[in-house]
C-alpha cells in the first residue's frame, strides 16, 4: 500500500474551540494531500458535536492566558465545523462518535450534528486506523 493511501486518524477528546480548530486544520490539510481521514469523537469533543451546540462558544484550553485568549478569539478564521465540511468536500473524511462516550452522555444518533457519519466502538476505530497515524487531541 502506498504511504499516501494510509489514513490519518484523529481521536478528538478535547472540546475547546482552539483544539477543535487545530484538529480541523489538520483534517483539511491531510484531506487536501489525498489522505483518508478518520475522526473519532470522545468526551468533551463529542459533546461539542451535539445538535445545536456546534457553533456555540466552547471556550478555550484552560492554559490560554489573559493576554492570549482575546487574540485567539479574535482570529478571523473559519469555524472548525466549516473546516471539517470543507475537508469532507475535498477528500475522504469519516467522522464517528465513540459508542462509549455516547453511552456516557446518554444520547443517541439523533442528538448529533449531521456532520457526524455514525457511531462506532474503539475496536472498529483501531481497525480503521490500520497502521496509519493516530493523533490524540
Amino acid at each position: 500500500m502506498d504511504e499516501q493511501d494510509k489514513p490519518i486518524s484523529l481521536v478528538l477528546f478535547s472540546g475547546t474551540d482552539d483544539k477543535l480548530t487545530a484538529a480541523a486544520v489538520l483534517a483539511v490539510g491531510a484531506a487536501a494531500m489525498g489522505r483518508p481521514v478518520n475522526v473519532f469523537l470522545q468526551y468533551y469533543a463529542l459533546d461539542a458535536f451535539r445538535n445545536g451546540k456546534v457553533t456555540q462558544d466552547h471556550s478555550l484550553s484552560p492554559e490560554a492566558s489573559e493576554s492570549q485568549a482575546p487574540i485567539v478569539r479574535a482570529h478571523n478564521s473559519q469555524h472548525w465545523s466549516d473546516l471539517l465540511r470543507q475537508a469532507k468536500d475535498v477528500g475522504e473524511v469519516n467522522i464517528q462518535a465513540c459508542a462509549l462516550s455516547m453511552d456516557m452522555f446518554g444520547i443517541g444518533r439523533e442528538d448529533l450534528d449531521p456532520i457526524v457519519d455514525g457511531i462506532e466502538g474503539v475496536a472498529a476505530f483501531i481497525a480503521s486506523a490500520g497502521d496509519g497515524q493516530v493523533v490524540f487531541i
Copy 2:
C-alpha cells in the same frame, strides 16, 4: 512485518481520570485487536500510578465544565486500572515508567503500583515504539 504486528505506543502525560480512562480504553481496544501496546508514564500520569494512589480521585481535565463534570464522574464504567489489567489479560501490554519523571518525583520502583512493569528511558521507549503509532495523551 505485518501491520497488525506493529505496536501502538501511548505516552501518558496527563493524570486525570478522564484522560487515563480514554487511554485505557484505547489500550484495551488495541490489545483486543491483537496489537502489542506500550505505555510510557510521565509527569502527572506517573504520579497517578504510585502505590496506593491508583484508585484515588485524580480529578478531571480542567476543561470539564460544571455541566459536564458530574456526567463524566457518574458514568458507570470500569476504573482505568481495571481496564489496563483487562488489556494485559487479553494481549501484550507493557507499562513502563519514564526514568526522568521517576527522578523528578524522587521515587523508586517500590513506590509504583504493581501494574507497572518497569522503568525505562525515552530512548528505550522510542526503540520499542519502532514505526508503530505513538499517541501522546
Copy 3:
C-alpha cells in the same frame, strides 16, 4: 525505506513548560536514535517560541495540583530550549512555525527565536511527516 529513516513529527500546541519539556525530551531521544524530527509550532506553543520569551516562565499544565507543581518546577532538568538545541546537535531536527498561527498572532519571522528554522503551512507539514509518527502535544 528503513523504518529508522522515517521522521517523527511533533505538533506542539501547548505552551506550558511541562509539556514543552516532555516534547523536547521526545525530540532528543528520537534524534539520538537517528530519527529525523519535525516540530510544528501552533497556538500557545508558537507563542512560547517568540523572541525573548523562550526562557520566561510559561507556567504548567492547568491540571498540575498544588502538591505537584512545586515538584515539577523544582526539578533540576535542562530547559526545553536547551534540550531542543541539543537535539539539533545530535540529529536532524527541523522546527517550523505554523503559518496560520503566525497570522493569528500577527507576527513575522523576525519575532521568532532563532531556534525556529522557518514557517510553513499545514499541507507542507503533513507532506514532511510522510507516514512517520505524528504526535500532538
